[in-house]
Amino acid sequence: MSTEITHDTAHDEHDHHGPAKGLMRWVTTTNHKDIGTLYLWLSFIMLLYGGAMAMVIRLELFQPGLQFVEPHFFNQMTTMHGLVMVFGAIMPAFVGLANWLVPMMIGAPDMALPRMNNWSFWILPFAFAILASTSFMEGGGPAFGWTFYAPLSTTYGPDSTDFFIFAVHLMGISSVMGSINIIATILNMRAPGMTLMKMPLFVWTWLITAYLLIAVMPVLAGAVTMMLTDRHFGTSFFDAAGGGDPVMFQHIFWFFGHPEVYIMILPAFGVISAIVPTFARKPLFGYSSMVYASASIAILSFMVWAHHMFTTGMPVAGELYFMYATILISVPTGVKVFNWVTTMWKGSMTFETPMLFALGFIVMFTIGGFSGLMLGVAPVDTQYHDTYFVVAHFHYVLVTGALYSIIAAFYYWVPKWTGHMYDETLGKIHFWWSTIAVNVLFFPQHFVGLAGMPRRIPDYSLQFAEFNQISSIGGFAFGLAQIFFLYIVIKTIKGGVKATDKVWEGATGLEFEELPSPPPYHSFTQAPQVK
């Protein structure tokens, strides 16, 4: 019995070691691709769940008057829609993409902590089951907005608030474990030669995002824990009657909440930075400035939180500081947009579906950025604050920003993942349908917001009727477009034209250059040499 033989046997076993069969494969898997797939499906289901609630909202707002739902139920819809979309749809989708892509991009066989990876995922279905179950409880689910300001969520919250708190804790634990895993993978599992400044931008932006997550998720956990003790154990963190401070809640919440919006957009920047060069057939312009811009955005994101609170009566000095810091963020964000545009400049561009979604992202995210700059100007923000102008702003950056980048990433990498090309015609229909619908949906919301319509109201005065009707029609069309997307996803997984290993003419990176389509169950059992 020589070492030689053992080696060969072990090696053979390794190569033929595929996924287990049946349902247990998914429950017990420690494979980054399987877990990535699970995350992506969870996020799709949550997108449809949160989307269904958005449809209820748009239905009630289709015309003035209370026709379909009661105000209390309406508030539950806006709250759950926000929570589900932020924590259920956007964040898990990016974690799913990270799981699939980070090991392949840095030349690793899997994530650094595969068993914890399994746990990070499987916490989430339970967290969302708990959150969703609150809707059926006496008194209804959370109805205080996804920002759950005290004291509306503490003294005045429904009984189900405790379940909401528990669900948020679970999501936080999942996020923190996922982030530490990603950090450990990126810092410690890179193939020889893969220096930090050679990493694809998606890996870079995720590394930065993971640091944002481990810094702010515990703050969110702290906030909900204080809520819990305020509700049941006699503390008064946020209760003015007991010497606490309701505004303190907002400071703590937004210390989490503002980096959170960058958590949802930084990986999107990484996706766009991968797609644009491929279809412009030209290297990304200003790679290192992109890395520095991402890091600056992340650092600044910790210093601007109170721009969500310009009407809470902060001291003027505080308002001035938060205004300056906030508008300063548009500098590194602008650098990113300029770099993408310059990457296209004098390229040789083609317009496959991923590129269409990426271009849609750049245009519409920038529109969201413009309204963001307007909102950052403190004195005028007092008039925009808590209106539909804000709703329009964050849906431009989250739907046509974050969500568009996720859809773009799907079209871009799905041929690599499955070995099948998606149907290009259907993809293009999906893009144009979504893009027209989403603008019909959200653009008029700028107008009603400026004209004076507050957000989170179940009914409105008659002067807002026309634009709300238009917006609702756009909403229904956008919802349908994503059902169509579901069809495209299933169709692509089931079959399609065989994808080449490189997939795209201009594709670069280890996942396209070193791995077949689809890649083996374990990507790189032998570390590739990165030149």
């Binding site: 072990a10 530490i180 020889p192």
Partner: protein, 44 residues
């Protein structure tokens, strides 16, 4: 035997595993610090 085989791998060397654990511990400490700091901020 297999264990020894793994030890020689680029990705599964003992040194690399130790480093993974050091990274995990360091980052868990960051998480705990921020969690506790939140309560201090809330004027516990």
């Amino acid at each position: 035997m297999q264990q020894r085989q793994h030890d020689e791998d680029y990705f599964t060397s003992v040194e690399r595993r130790r480093r993974t654990w050091r990274i995990v511990v360091a980052h868990v400490l960051i998480v705990v610090t921020f969690f506790v700091a939140t309560f201090l901020w809330g004027k516990f």
